[in-house]
């Protein structure tokens, strides 16, 4: 049984989002045909909400809710899955200058997985940092589909993953209710817990999936002959 998860989303717990989790889940329920997502991972900015309990909402909507974090490093933003007390003691998640290599290595050692997100984005993506600094080691995957990407950013991410041999994930990076689930990652295995997710990200089979509607091409204007009076 496969599982499709939006691996990157922000609820109102992030300072730049106004989206309540319940509204996300309700939207996904209503849009199930267009965005067949089985669950969402809340990756709140620079924090991890250890005590947040979403089981009642999971039961109400039948959608899996997992918790992770998006931290900021000297190589851009990084999603951290499988956050535990050892990680939050080791790193100040509010620090926007965390050392990326240490984050990747230490998170792995502590049982999680750290994945650079939107690498094609200026300033906060891997591509720009790789142009100036040595590449990071032990990167297993990057986010190549991001719902907040501008033109060309996802293409740069795909090229980075191809050239470096990184695996690929997708996430909506939603800060607004209507954007949840637009990009996601399909896993071959069933995922019910954050431990399942970390295991699959490290060694399972998965691929990014894009549910963004295709834009219709703008029709060419037909010249109209203007008759002189």
């Amino acid at each position: 049984m496969s599982t499709t998860l939006d691996l990157h989303s922000h609820s109102e717990a992030s300072e730049d989002s106004r989206a309540p989790l319940e509204a996300y889940l309700n939207w996904l329920k209503l849009r199930r045909a267009e965005r067949p997502v089985d669950g969402v991972v809340l990756t709140e900015h620079r924090q991890f909400n250890k005590d947040a309990d979403y089981r009642a909402l999971e039961d109400k909507f039948g959608i899996l809710v997992l918790k992770a974090s998006e931290v900021e490093t000297d190589y851009g933003h990084v999603l951290v899955f499988g956050v535990n007390d050892e990680m939050t003691r080791r790193f100040d998640f509010a620090n926007v200058h965390l050392p990326a290599q240490e984050v990747i290595d230490e998170v792995a050692r502590m049982g999680g997985v750290a994945i650079p997100c939107h690498p094609g984005r200026p300033n906060v993506g891997l591509c720009e940092h790789y142009a100036k600094k040595p590449p990071l080691e032990n990167v297993i995957a990057v986010e190549v589909l991001n719902g907040g990407s501008r033109k060309g950013e996802d293409e740069r991410s795909v090229e980075l993953a191809r050239s470096r041999g990184y695996r690929s994930i997708g996430g909506s990076d939603s800060h607004l209710v209507s954007l949840i689930g637009l990009c996601a990652t399909r896993f071959e295995a069933e995922i019910r817990t954050i431990e399942d997710l970390v295991r699959e990200l490290k060694s399972g089979e998965y691929a990014p999936v894009d549910f963004r509607p295709r834009r219709k091409p703008v029709p060419h204007a037909t010249p109209v002959e203007v008759k002189q009076a």
Partner: protein, 148 residues
Amino acid sequence: MTVDYDPALIGRVFETTEPVPVTAEQIAAFCAAINETNPIFTDEAAAKAGPFGGIVAPPSFAVTFRNGRHFFEHIPRYGKQGFDAGKDVEFVTPIRPGDAITLNSHVKEIYEKTGRTGSMVFVIVRSTLTNQKGEVVAHVDHRFMNRP
């Protein structure tokens, strides 16, 4: 937190305004300006039968109260550039004609983040509105972005 600031800044009220009286006429003028037609805001009889037992101001009336003249002088700045990055308003108690509203302002939070355009430092200043009975009627969080 990596942005440098004096922790004593947080929570210390730096400004308290003089009480501003609220009248039914002001509320009616505000309703006319925003095309609010619900009679509980303007018609005494309808308001009396409504959920608040009398005329109240529409919730957004809370944002019409101005901060003091020296408000901006007390906001910590980082770098040379910045802008007003928005406001969050939490409504607590209805404002009624006859109220006298006072604003108390303090720095609620300072944090740094990075984005497409570079580093940013955000300063959140909270203005708490209270009435003459000391009841909080609303909180207004002003979000200021600085480019360090």
